[in-house]
Assembly symmetry: C2
Homo-oligomer: 409 residues x 2
């Protein structure tokens, strides 16, 4: 039984299932007797401006709940706001706690990735320091699957399913022509190659999958790349290559930086990536004189809710729900994690992890899961990732288009 109100927010890049976690928090809090579940607009950034809603004004019935599960992007709005340390900006912390206290909030949930878990860490430590009884819990979310301590993250399975499905379609398209061609598909992932590795899941009875896969975990070498392409060309008219947007050369520079004059940096100090496929496509056209095409899967990897993994949706809901239950048991400064019990049949349980073990860390694809020549992933990756893309959740189609729940259109 909840005593006090709930505040929940979404932060960082969206996923196709981030709203399933929101529903998990909302519904569980309601079921446990919470009077008001507030939602921050645009995460902590909006909260600081006192922009929040009473979620029950928008989710009125079970149909709304099902619709929200099928709605991509962050329903509440998101932000990329880096909360400074309390020593450096005590006024921000005063402000947040005064707003939360004013609303009778006793439970605070933040659905996000590494950077957002830093926010939870800071807030829970500050609460301890000032003796506040508000509990702060992190709900994992990221298509990148790069959070530490958890078997995988909600959002990854659906992004993987989208990547593998569209990769199958792209491969069929590329192979239908009789001409020589090279198709380079650029996939998200700054330092962790989980999503690019997922392109290998397209390998199935009716599809050979991409011919080469380049992850950011392996140093990219232009000469080796050229040789590997030439080798594939000997037996394949159409060569299909999956590359991570974050592949780097030995000097630590992103490959995509080569054709950029300026480099944008976001509020977390991350460089803006993009252009890897185009650059490599130009590089190969120049070297080989073969038709090369660059395809960038872009934001659809994180917002194609018309093609989600049902397992991912279920687990995302569970992560939100179990965060509420853990907070009710008195936990704070923790994040929900998944532990895998078995692969076959697939089974996981949730647990909680001290947020300090999670925040600001990055989990990459283990090098043992990458083939020796660095151009593919191993069976171990397949065993790990394939269960995560299983099952569908049909969109609610209205007049031929997927319907979404919205605050602002």
């Amino acid at each position: 039984m909840i005593h006090g109100n709930v505040m929940v927010g979404q932060s960082g890049g969206p996923t196709s299932v981030i709203n399933a976690s929101l529903v998990g928090v909302f519904k569980t809090a309601q079921d446990e007797g919470c009077k008001t579940v507030y939602g921050m607009r645009n995460g902590i950034e909006g909260l600081l401006e006192e922009r929040y809603i009473d979620i029950s004004d928008y989710i009125k019935n079970d149909l709304d709940i099902e619709l929200l599960k099928r709605t991509p992007s962050s329903f509440l709005g998101t932000c990329r706001f880096k909360l400074p340390h309390a020593d450096k900006a005590p006024e921000l912390y005063d402000r947040i706690f005064s707003i939360l206290n004013g609303l009778g909030v006793k439970y605070f949930f933040y659905i996000g990735g590494n950077d957002s878990m830093d926010t939870i860490m800071q807030l829970s430590e500050y609460a301890r320091k000032i003796g506040s009884d508000i509990r702060f819990m992190g709900v994992p979310k990221t298509i990148d699957n790069d959070l530490a301590c958890t078997d995988h993250t909600p959002g990854f399975g659906s992004a993987s399913k989208y990547i593998a499905s569209t990769m199958k379609e792209i491969i069929r398209d590329a192979k239908t022509y009789p001409n020589d061609s090279i198709t380079i598909v650029e996939i998200m992932g700054r330092n962790a190659g989980w999503l690019t590795a997922s392109s290998a899941l397209s390998r199935s009875e009716d599809c050979d999958g991409p011919d080469l896969i380049y992850l950011p975990e392996v140093v990219f070498d232009h000469e080796k790349f050229l040789e590997q392409i030439k080798e594939k060309k000997k037996t394949h008219k159409a060569v299909i290559v999956a590359v991570s947007e974050g592949i780097k050369t030995a000097d630590g520079k992103y490959v995509c930086e080569a054709n950029k004059n300026t480099t944008l940096v976001d509020s977390f100090g991350h460089k803006a990536l993009g252009g890897t496929a185009l650059y490599l496509s130009d590089f190969l056209t120049d070297k080989l004189g073969i038709k090369c095409r660059g395809i960038v899967l872009a934001t659809l990897q994180r917002c194609a809710s018309h093609l989600v993994s049902r397992r991912d949706i279920t687990e995302a809901f569970m992560a939100g729900a179990d965060a509420v239950m853990a907070a009710l048991r008195g936990e704070t400064g923790k994040m929900i994690i998944f532990k895998r019990i078995s692969n076959n049949p697939y089974s996981i349980v949730t647990d909680i992890m001290d947020i300090r073990e999670v925040a600001n860390k990055e989990k990459c694809v283990p090098l043992e899961w990458i083939t020796e020549d660095g151009t593919y992933v191993s069976e171990e990756f397949d065993t790990y990732a394939r269960p995560l893309i299983i099952g569908e959740l049909s969109p609610f189609m209205v007049d031929g288009l997927p319907r979404h729940l919205f605050i602002d259109r």
Copy 2:
């Protein structure tokens, strides 16, 4: 009742429903008693090399038929081969007719766009000249919807549905951030803006649609563009723009040519396009200093069979089936066309059209369907296009991925 065998081929860029037309030809020919339905591998180019299959070796039952309807890209393989005029290459015509005669083929079906209809025109005229009784029929296909004489083309509805659906997802993704941003979505269409116009179908109860739409039918002016963006920015934090890859400036040059050193040309003399979104995104970043993102929907527009329009699938099948029935009635040198009987309820019938009226012509979006300032499409377009995206055909999902029927993997 068919006397003689059938030869069918697929040509040009694939669509998500080109195989439904193939099924329509195959099944109808079989039902009419045809002994062998041959399929050219890679269209006329493969036929000249005597590469063909007996389709019944691959489609063995009704499950295969349903699977093929859900398989993207051209099942038989495609080509971009331009058949020269008979005066210039009589040996090619001799060859084709000798192969067809050797196989006892009396009916020839070619599923394709403007360029492919030129092939049908040439072959049927040559047949008339040499007194051959082989009948040549065109089955329309193109996502571009630019074929003359027909209300619309099979393939357009599914591409529109994909564009409008993903546009909704992209818009939700773009609007979830509190920051100023401009998102430019590049959509296929060389000279005809039908597909780009379809982005407007994303406008629905839960989505405002893109803010600006630029079609190749309207001369693109950089200064006006900048002003129109600035105007939208006054009221919209996130501005979403749909642009055709084929927009051109007043001097007739493609906008995307501005940032290219070389210009590739295909066998039909068409310039390779691409890079419009990236170019405009750089242009706006430079002029406005706002975060701009370019998204290219790329080949998925023509191969995302996981999200087809059921109406499009049905009509594509019908186009193939009715081509067979017309050939049986004695027609040759014709293409199947659609005539719209009514919008509400939506109803069409098929008819046949002399191929000379169709070949090598291009149908653009009527200027009356484009708003006066050239930045959106009118209600008329909506009334025309919305019925075409209605209905779904669920993919056959196996282990979390859409299953396809294949000859080569």
